[in-house]
Symmetry: D2
């Protein structure tokens, strides 16, 4: 992720700002504002703006509940209560904006979260950088044999080298041909002055899906939590999780009380179905309880046992 | 709109803040931040937070268009271009939050704009204030005879007095009975210690629609413009227009370049249908052109002539 | 809910349709299509259109997962899997449209669910019917003393009569004055031919919040489930729950497999926080576990014990 | 677009359905329901479900306006009125669902329309088909020299052959390597039984952006019109316009009255800014009017003259 001189200068100028405001500020988040935090081999996440902090959630909740909320003694108690009971609208009162550089195949997962505002670099207008995502060897995993959308064992040795070699060679070749069709290199020089350049909106189709793109992505706190609970989860693809982890860290700096509640009620929490709950009840009471009498499917039984760490009970 | 002592103190404390931030600020908007600007007889609009300014729109547009946008020489030129061509996503990159006090029947119009975040005072939890909207005599208009959703001539004299008298008497009586059913006055004192108080979620049903409520309402700049273009329009009901006018003023302070473009392209602009355009073309060329040959309905013809101020041509 | 002759005729005509279609149909839902199912004293819920059935969820999920889904043997298994893992987008592929008549104070709760399409009867254009919600005595409850937004014991005897009397009298009086200000009765007759009628958009402000309104409300299946899980819940206000219950019944007819999964995973299910899960783990293992060592707040402890029915452990 | 035998059979079965329904139907749309209409070289658009027709718009508008709308004599008049005055919510009462096969770089443009429901084929789960978009020679255009996001003259002769050769070769090579890394061919056969297969979620990154994907895409009529007015426009990229054109045709079959109003007020219509309107007023009155006195930028002046076809006035 070598930022260009231009980019570094822009970031330094942004960070050098010292404006006065009557708005609430989040001092820990201010410390990393505008900073390009590296993700994967060429990507980054930058917080470029925000609105509100933990107190904004409390403020709007107290408007909703009027005098009624005065009895909840602390801000922390109120935020936990709101999170626990999924009173979601007060969390929509905070907003954050990220500048993200990421591979296109990850951008395609990400964009499925629709309640956000996005401005992406347009390859209709401009030429994309020559930067591709290359997994490191410790993430080069085989298809899982038990989970159709997961990864299994690492691939190593000669096969790993071959795969990395393919990825590198194909990305470079398709990019070189992208330039050739554009009849223009990224630095603006013409390749063959007797040729026309293919329209950018067409030439881009030759690029591979690990090419990096970038965008501004803005969302409210509630939808950020939804995004993180799905994408910082162990079932998420490693490459998007790498972004979600950095963003979770910015969440902690921004709204520390909400972060704690989020970790307790969402990230570390779980859901029980009616049938699952009935199994747990029996287990607590020490009643006889096994798969056969549980009314659960084998898969549900295993998921339930697994979430409580009862390894011996998994079928 | 006599703010309570408590409210005044809260506003003063908010305004006394002097925080440092690396975020962009909007100096003119900062000057009125938190201020309760009176609307109607008991309502107000307060800007309580914001994110971004004109430069944020430009910043995200330049990410989209990459090096391509460098040729548009000025921020103002770019914002006008975006507005003219309805490139709407960069305008979503700014966000604003209002605290609004407004009559319930206006809140019901307002809430139809769904792309916004809302926390409203809850009459399930708390007791509503004894405040009702009473129109002034210069807004006490008769039903329009030509427009099913508009106002016609003013009602004056004795009938006006009677109407105002009804509105006042009914609002007060229903509120007094609201307290009676709650068995509790707004100040918290019990009315009859031998009685129970009816659940708040039920008692509220006795209130009239001109009772004031309040909410926090947060939206992005694009959706604010959509709201204002509909609600600051002459066809909007006067009472919501009064709010939209105050908010249009805050728009001007917040994002002055966007404001200018909005006035030129939206507020002062108009739409032509294909058929309408063809009429205008003929008129410019000095060709014979009248209602009969226009292919327009009478209503369309009149609307078109009216928008160009050709009063003599209206049927 | 005496439907007018006109309305009855319209419903009969709609129900008499026998159109041919290549679209999937939901035979059980067809049976009640257009029928006005009574809710509260004057309200109703009518299913007026729908798109898709259980098979539509499966169809779109199989597009997502491609050949991968063929291994899930049954539609039912797949729908349960999607519900359990909150793979939500396939549930958005079904759509339903209701025609609802409901009191205004309930409409104001309902409209907070923003991901839906709404067309409401406009009191700017037209005159509202003289119909108000009056609770029956078995729902006339006092404010809860333990829950700020709940109901406690019933109010009965003389106080109940007084309350019902107030509600009736105030609603009738404000409606009569509404007509007086409009200078027009609901049947269109003029009251005083020497007077003007106040603009409808103004006169409506005199009505009480238990006046009935009506709307078309259209949403996708995912958002319907979200609505029902909140509004058919025991914590919801009785009056909106009455609507949600009728709609839950239409859900069962429309998409019976999804209905079963919804009952198991959402309605009958629960969420455990990280701390709560750790308490449950100890209890299952028979380890010593009490409030003091639980890290939970008193409120959380009680909610947890309550959800498993351990009444003796509630503090 | 050679559909597989399986796909053809599925479509035939869907089209052979003859269900009875009390819902409104759109007879012309029924005729093409499920049919895979070819777009580009391997893509298609299929209407797979719909809800409502022109009468549904009228129905919900009449609920809004109550008795007030009875005076608008015809459905067509009412729909035109709604379109002209941007009364948008009645158009949200109809819904349509498409099954679309399209190149990934087009899918990335399309997905920017967020108010829609989407289920896309997942390359995390399954292996993508070996199908790539190859432009025909009559669409192989050079970058426009006047518009940064447009196409200019065609590229022909030897350079065209070279470009098509590159596109074909690179797509095939990257796909072959995709299979190699997966260690599995699309038909499920293993390539090298001593190797593991790379996880699908990783291997896909080697594919080029012209690889075809497919999805179910469902939206309401209002948002479909917004999509079509942008994407069937001459400024849209040809490849997405090809889809929008087919969908515009389905619009005409589905809701013919709305289609006419859309063509008149949106597609064939235009917007005038306040300044532009003032220019037009002068021109109609025969007053002296030129660029210098117009207050317009050169670009705005040219756009305005161009839209009225006044070629001699363009600077």
């Amino acid at each position: 992720m070598p930022l260009s001189k231009e980019q570094k200068k822009e970031i330094q100028e942004q960070q050098a700002q010292e404006n006065k405001t009557k708005r609430v500020t989040s001092p820990e988040l201010e410390k990393i504002l505008y900073e390009a935090i590296p993700v994967l081999d060429h990507g980054f996440v930058r917080v470029v703006d925000y609105m509100g902090d933990d107190s904004s959630i409390v403020q709007s909740a107290r408007v909703s509940y009027g005098k009624g909320t005065k009895k909840v003694s602390t801000d922390s108690g109120l935020i936990k209560y709101l999170m626990r009971h999924r009173h979601s609208t007060p969390f929509e009162m905070c907003e954050i904006k990220y500048h993200v550089k990421l591979p296109i195949f990850i951008a395609r997962q990400w964009i499925r979260h629709r309640t956000a505002n996005v401005n992406e670099y347009s390859a209709r207008y401009s030429i994309l950088d020559k930067e591709f995502y290359m997994p490191t060897k410790d993430h080069l995993a085989a298809q899982s044999t038990i989970n159709r959308q997961g990864r299994g064992d690492l691939i190593d040795g000669k096969q790993a080298d071959e795969i990395l070699n393919i990825l590198k060679k194909d990305a470079e070749q398709t990019y070189d041909n992208y330039e050739l069709m554009l009849n223009e290199r990224f630095d603006g020089t013409t390749i063959n002055k007797n040729n026309k350049g293919l329209a950018r909106e067409l030439a881009r189709m030759n690029l591979t899906l690990n090419t990096y793109t970038q965008w501004y992505w803005k969302t409210d706190l509630l939808n950020l939590l939804n995004f993180l609970s799905l994408r910082a989860d162990s079932h998420a693809q490693y490459e998007i999780r790498a972004y979600a982890d950095v963003m979770t860290n910015s969440l902690k700096k921004w709204v520390p009380i909400t972060f704690d509640a989020f970790m307790d009620y969402r990230v570390g929490g779980m859901e029980l179905s009616a049938k699952g709950k009935s199994v747990i009840e029996k287990m607590i009471k020490g009643e006889n309880c096994n798969f056969e009498s549980s009314n659960l499917s084998k898969r549900e039984w295993n998921e339930l046992m697994d979430s409580f760490g009862f390894k011996e009970k998994i079928l």
